[in-house]
Amino acid sequence: MGIELYGVDSLQKILGWARKYSMFKQPFVTACCGMEYMSTMGPRYDLSRFGCEFVQFTPRHTDLLFVVGTISERQAPVLRRIYDQMADPKFVVAFGVCASSGGFYQNYAVVPGIDQIIPVDVYIPGCPPRPEQVIDGIVRLQEIIQAGETHSQRELRQLAEAKG
């Protein structure tokens, strides 16, 4: 019994370890934050050091959605559709205040935070955030993934428990 528990536990550990260091990400780049995203991917702040290098432009192959920049009401359906197309387990990072809360665009055109449309795992503040902040956010996300506490991981677990 204890052995089983141990087995399950370590299996989760291994899965989390594998997931957090092999994130395929889709950059949903819309606005100013894209500049800092480029810098983050660039040679100086090399994001590939953190197992988050591979950029995919099709949602069906990605498990990390980088929402970089302002999401307007017109863009919102597109973002939601992209999220729906991603395969579980999927993680979402809100890059910058516009994606997190609408920032200082509190007006008719801008969604006040993408978490009104899709669940968000990590919010990175800043307008735009410095690359260091982005890396910090990625590391946080990896911790959450290891702990299995991202939104989609929780959902999956609940589904599994419901099945029994």
Partner: protein, 405 residues
Amino acid sequence: MTSNSEQLAVQERVALPTETMTIMMGPVHPAMHGTVRVVVTVDGERIVHADVQVGYLHRGFEKECESVTWGQVFPYTDRLNYVSPILNNVGYAMAVEKLLDLEVPERAEYIRVISGELSRIGDHLTCIAAIAMEMGAFSIFLYCVRARDIVYDRLEELTGARVTHAFCRVGGVKDDIPEGWLEKVRGGFDEITGVIDDIDGLLTKNRIFLDRTQGVGVVSMADAISSGFTGPVGRASGIDYDVRKDHAYGVYDRLDFDVPVMDAGDTFCRYYVRMEEVRQSLRIIDQAIDQIEPGPVKAEGAHRVVLPTKNETYNTIEGMIRHFKLVVDGIQVPEGEAYTYVEGGNGELGFYCVSDGSGVPVKVRCRPPCFIVTGQLGNMLVGHTLADVVPIFGSLNMIGGECDR
């Protein structure tokens, strides 16, 4: 890979009966910068109709400006063309100064020129990086980003922010330049020119690149003028128009630089004009650094416009009251209207401001160059192959924040 024109010729010869197909490009597409959707109708490989849909990054810029005081507009202008924010700052500041008939001190003008040209370098490098990356040359992207990070470092040392600076003020700039900053700026020249030369060697004579860009997306001069093209795109089509030369503002009339003009009007020209402008910008900065003299960086005597210094604000009641009035009620701009234009990263960046004499603008209109350029994208695409959409679009350097505002 045969050149585009040969392909077309082949398709001309074998005129097979085909039916058209509609393809969506964007808004989420590696080459669409996330903010544009092109609905292309293709007949085989050739585009017979293209409907360009913008507005995916409409953030209500003008509405926001009409709800804040004149001084609080600067952060919003930063995020218009977020690749070269300082140029937007300067444009807007000049509009308000025109309304106020305010003289800006010389040193402030020089600081605006130096930081603005740095911004322009960042802008063009980003554009080149995008074109190259979207056509598969990822190493160029990495080179450009490396060079651009140098620009960002300098601007950060000056303004405190890497991308969105909000550095200009009505009647000057926020701060004087830090100690030894100008030498640092010079020190970065070598690396930037080195990168430009590398790109020159890697792209400008690259057979693949030439095949994909030369003769692609040609815009005749007449069309370009009628379409309101300005800036690099217009100059690539032979319009010899650069605001810095033809309507020299600030201290540009004291600086010696060339305006690169090409007349083929194709994607390659748009790319190469930008390359050349980076070199010219470096020239301008070099001269400006030589000419800049010590002095004030904010209009002197304009106590109803310029915020008092921290020392005044915290230690004298007069400064405190002025600070309060200027922040709470805003700068009282006299009634009237003014249109100013500067050479932005993408061309003539105009600001049309209307005031009713209160502290809140009635209207702050930004004349967005790349919105006007993107307006002709549909016509430019027709007749080309689907693969040509990427370089053509990339060479227009559509910036969402400025195009959709």
